[in-house]
């Protein structure tokens, strides 16, 4: 009986662990993508510290990039809707 319990418990723990790690990896990948794009936009030659203007640029860049992504997704959804209603 107890062996069977252990099997189920460990499998569940492992599954949860993998799911959480997968989500962490996805968030990490997003952060790296944003950083590379915004690094190019906001930082010319690397200096002795990040000044306030550069920090603001980086922060705005992330938000604007997400806004851009949302806009494009929404527009595409509209296009698909128009297509399907036109085809009817």
């Amino acid at each position: 009986m107890s062996d069977f319990e252990n099997l189920t418990g460990n499998d569940k723990e492992l599954q949860e662990f993998l799911m959480i790690e997968k989500q962490k990896a996805q968030v990490n990948a997003q952060i790296h993508e944003f950083n590379e794009i915004c690094w190019e936009k906001c930082i010319g030659k690397p200096s002795t510290k990040l000044d306030h203007a550069t920090e603001t640029c980086l922060s705005n860049c992330v938000d604007r990039f997400i806004d851009t992504s949302l806009l494009i997704t929404q527009r595409f959804a509209q296009m698909l809707q128009k297509q399907s209603s036109g085809g009817m």
Partner: protein, 83 residues
């Protein structure tokens, strides 16, 4: 059979966490290398010049600063979007 014991499961998870942490660090270092090479080395010479080395060191620090700002902004935005 032995994998079903709780101690082995915890061990497995711990070792996986270590591997994941190592992979993350390697990924980050790779990105720093590519991005800072782009920023700091204009015309590759026969060795790294002092100025290039200084730039690379600063660049690495700034890149990690930048990662912090981006991570913070992203997590704030996620919290706003999921309200």
């Amino acid at each position: 059979m032995e994998q079903n014991e709780p101690q082995n499961c915890a061990e497995t998870l711990r070792s996986m966490r270590q591997q994941i942490a190592l992979a993350n660090a390697q990924q980050m270092l790779g990105k720093i290398t590519v991005n800072c090479f782009r920023k700091c080395i204009d015309r590759p010479g026969t060795s790294l010049a002092r100025a290039e080395e200084r730039c690379l060191v600063q660049c690495m620090d700034r890149f990690m600063d930048s990662l912090k700002v981006v991570s913070l902004t992203y997590s704030k935005r996620l919290m706003r979007e999921t309200k």
